[in-house]
Amino acid sequence: MGQINNKLAANAIVWLLLLTAPFWMHWVGGYTELGSRVLVMALAAMALNFLLGFTGVLSFGHAAYFGLGAYGAAMTIKYLVPSTPLAILVGVLVGTAAAAIIGTLIVKLRGVYFAMVTIAFGQVFYFITFRWNTVTGGDDGLTNWTRVPIDLGFTKLDILHNPELFYYFILFFFALSVALMTILLRSPFGRTLLAIRENERRARFLGIPVERHIWLSFTISCFFVSIAGALYALLNNFVDPRALYWGLSGNFVIMAVLGGMRSFWGPLVGAVIFVVLQDYVSSMTQNWESFIGLLFVLIVLFFPRGVLGIVRRKVAS
């Protein structure tokens, strides 16, 4: 009973903080765009963790589908139609479709091999955007486009010029994704994923078609990461090949592990720490990368369950 109450309290606190963020962010030295960036990265890290924490499969190539979502959205606005919802839709379709295809090729691999092949496929997409100058803008990125205000008929949402409004726009997609992930993870399907994480052999000999379910989990995970990617492009009004670079995949993994990959909110906590630190530390020192690397190593060494893992143990005892 106590555990259920703790969970409810944690959920209430998280949603309250997220809903009120634009009002208190500047008191703690933040700004609204920073909050938006946290949300986008948190969604990406939670999406990755659907696969990593709840299926037990490590992907080091999720930036590819994040980036495809971003390019899909940006190119839709730049070349096809000036519509933000359509941009997101196209980005998500492109990212998810690519994941569904790549997924069929890699579901038989496990552990390090899976991780390495996801990197390899991710780098393929990276080089395509890097080289295909005329369409993607190459190394300079895709510029000269912006997200488009949304016309609801009775009112117009100016998400382009109103950063608070755009924060809530992102929060809307974040909440939708989180709700969907929660439903999936609490369902019989979600439990088959836990079964695979816990003991693949046992799962198989309970009649679970392990490869099919890993493929589903990978594709679903990339569906959510491509939503994050599309929002990321809209947030920056810009996208370049770094959105697909494997280093970014590594950052998603770091966020999940930092916060605690066995906790549902762990990657969110990890994303807050990561994005905020990146913002502060990179303004003070050039060695941002080594700083976060060191922090990561320390956490993994001393708190293998991540920040939320420590909190949970304190609450339990």
């Binding site: 439903i183 052999r201 309970l206």
Partner: protein
């Protein structure tokens, strides 16, 4: 007609012949024990029947259909469930969740993103029934990985039963257990056999358990069948006594 028929099956590991031309027919409702010294090929034999390993040669027929080339999960769907010599469970999940997964799977809900209230209640009731049968009620919400060995073994057996199998393969269910636990498990297996008429193939090294439970016994030695018969016949078989029972007694 036999429920399970294994025809002349073999399996090599390099130059080692772990199972060599073994045939076995198990009738519906039968409890068959497989015994033999360590390294005789008993576990490998189970691995072939359950699909963990492909055979080098030979054929497996279940319920009149050739299953030699089926994937493990598909054999489970046909009704073959197994436990392992080294317990295979979901250590960081509770007993309840360990049982819920196969209960929902057997009911065909593996891909469901949600369950109706009635169905969820029905699933919970089945899980409760299994926990009662396995004596796991008090530990329902404990993590299986933190329970004593005996409870872990019991959980694994109940997980297999949750699949409503037509054939249950048990690989040394009493291995590493104390007297009381061995007694409990033996009683459970006997109940499944007598009351539910479940067909069971049992690998077991404890001869008290084997002679107490088995309808028929197959003796393996160095991968081949040394003898096969009723417990009385096996007890009287001189070849078996020399090769195996003499040492065990």
């Amino acid at each position: 007609m036999s429920l399970l028929q294994v025809d002349n099956i073999s399996r090599d590991f390099g130059s080692l012949v772990a199972v060599s031309g073994v045939s076995m027919a198990v009738e519906p409702g039968e409890l068959r024990a497989v015994i033999g010294p360590n390294g005789a090929g008993k576990t490998t034999f189970f691995n072939l029947i359950s699909g963990l390993l492909p055979p080098t040669s030979g054929r497996i027929v279940f319920d009149g259909k050739d299953i030699t080339n089926l994937l493990p999960a598909r054999r489970v769907w046909r009704g073959i469930a197994r436990t392992f010599q080294v317990t295979e469970i979901f250590p960081e999940l509770t007993v309840r969740e360990n049982l819920r997964i196969p209960v929902e799977g057997a009911a065909g809900y593996r891909l469901r993103p949600w369950l109706s209230r009635e169905v969820a209640q029905e699933m919970a009731a089945r899980v409760s029934g299994l926990m009662d049968m396995g004596g796991l009620r008090e530990k329902a919400d404990r993590l299986v990985g933190e329970l004593p060995h005996g409870d872990q073994r019991a959980t694994e057996i109940m997980m297999s039963l949750a699949l409503k199998p037509r054939l249950l393969l048990l690989d040394e269910p009493t291995a590493g257990m104390g007297d009381q636990e061995t007694y409990d498990i033996t009683r459970l297996i006997r109940r499944l056999h007598r009351e539910q008429k479940l067909t069971i193939v049992l690998i077991e090294h404890d001869m008290r358990v084997v002679f107490h439970l088995a309808d028929r016994i197959m003796v393996l030695a160095e991968g081949a069948v040394l003898a096969e018969g009723t417990p009385d016949e096996i007890a009287r078989n001189e070849g078996v006594q020399a090769a195996y029972l003499g040492k065990a007694a």
